[in-house]
Subunit: 338 residues, 2 copies
Amino acid sequence: MTAAPADYRAFYRGRNVLVTGGLGFIGSSLAHQLADLGADVLLVDAMIPEYGGNLFNIADLTNRVRVQISDVRNESAMSVLVRDREVIFNLAGQVSHIDSMRDPFTDLEINCRAQLSMLEACRRHNPGVRVVFAGTRQVYGRPERLPVDERHLVRPLDVNGVNKAAGEYYHLLYNNVFGVRACSLRLTNVYGPRQLIKHNRQGFIGWFIRLAIEGREIEVFGDGSQVRDFVFVDDAADAFLRAAASDVCDGDVFNVGGAEPITHRDLVTLLLDVAGSGSVRYVPWPPEKQRIDIGSFYSDSSKFTNATGWRPAVPLREGLATTIAFYRANMPHYVEAA
Amino acid sequence: MTAAPADYRAFYRGRNVLVTGGLGFIGSSLAHQLADLGADVLLVDAMIPEYGGNLFNIADLTNRVRVQISDVRNESAMSVLVRDREVIFNLAGQVSHIDSMRDPFTDLEINCRAQLSMLEACRRHNPGVRVVFAGTRQVYGRPERLPVDERHLVRPLDVNGVNKAAGEYYHLLYNNVFGVRACSLRLTNVYGPRQLIKHNRQGFIGWFIRLAIEGREIEVFGDGSQVRDFVFVDDAADAFLRAAASDVCDGDVFNVGGAEPITHRDLVTLLLDVAGSGSVRYVPWPPEKQRIDIGSFYSDSSKFTNATGWRPAVPLREGLATTIAFYRANMPHYVEAA
């Protein structure tokens, strides 16, 4: 079940694949690529209100993928759904840092406990599977140095980061001890079509894009000098495809970040330019947000590039243009109540 | 609420202190020191069968400490018990690595979820408290270098290590974000009076001591060349007392390890010599134990020494002699069914 890097896309033809969080932002983008590659695609999503699952995300995939509306916290359901799968892209999660601080236990149940039960299901019912986990740069907390590589200490600064770290450690443990092959991709800020933009609690990039499209004012905290890196969703999906197609990633963690670190100020300037609408205003940091802010962050993805050949292919300007065109064509499906 | 290092013992006179896991090995030793220092001591312990809680551990403290038989997983109980406490020594935990692999969810509930709920209870009902968490060297997994300092990556190799890492991260997070002052002491192998020796699933040192006392054969896996460090329980308790008596440890993690790294072979030779009974046999590694074994490990505690002045005071030979004398006098309380 190993493919040379050059063959990684051919690897998926006829392959039984499960995507948890499959109706969400990255999950549904992965579903599109997998369908195009000829995989047998099963998508599992809990469709929790306020989370990223959206039936419209896969509306054009009818008859090309199967969908199970089920929650990764449901152990008995998951123990059935994992059984005949060769690859699991494990993307289901509570992804709002803000929500994790307001309701830490729900975050724990989804990002920590459910990960353990899914891996237990694999160990018992499908130990030959390979799992790729959607980790996050949030586990690093406030960086001690830039760019951040995988040698940087894990010191999460919010509940979401703690539980995502635990979920990731479980994957490595099940790989190392129980032989359930698994790895984790620590994603930085991913953006692109199909991202939740109904509210602003799942990262600022999607929200900024919505405000620009709607001709509204974007509020940037502080002076906008903080640096971030961004990955276009197709590049993120490509990273998952590469990670699962060979054994080089098993048992390890990899940063998956952007090639063009950019300040908030320059990002917003670029966004407004590409959108041709919207405006910006600089406002003081709200104290409760500043407490969990991490300052500048951008990651070093060279370990993953060396392992799999992956590089981000979509420049930021191009990715923003694609994203804006997508939402302009489909806005009602992303801003109205589910 | 800060004491200069020299005054740290005086700091506890009349101080309201809670010890979770207070009837266990380290918790009850801490209870003895706290009672002697004139603290108002509340011990909470769930007395879970097969865990370390033992009423005999505090039998000589009657009328000097209060005891609540309660489980840290019980959120409503904990939210009452934390209220008037100035210091919480948070030692309650599932400590068997072996049990954590057989029943990962119980380990998660105690070492991960209950830690979060206890910290939530503090945030809501007693934000001025200081918490010292009993962390573990287990979070490091298999060391990349020796001695292991706190810059070493966290890469746990068993479920217990994952959940203890998450529990520790929660403490740091509540310190950094919510102002509930907290720190973690990553303990290496602690030994001494009052340790559980009923079974061999809570670390090998107590079990080896029991076998030596009973004149039985000690099985050492492999050639016994693996190195470990050991801390006598009174030194471990002293570390907790120092950590909570000032603000220098808040928001940080510290190794608390032994001064005399020693191979299993030399340890057993020393133990048999001190005990004057028992024997040793070298046997091949059982595969299921070898999978979660970490090789040689000893820690660098200089960060904690620099912060608090703590150093292990009890040499290994002396600690073993004290321990053996204790169990010889009290064996029925530690080997019979609870």
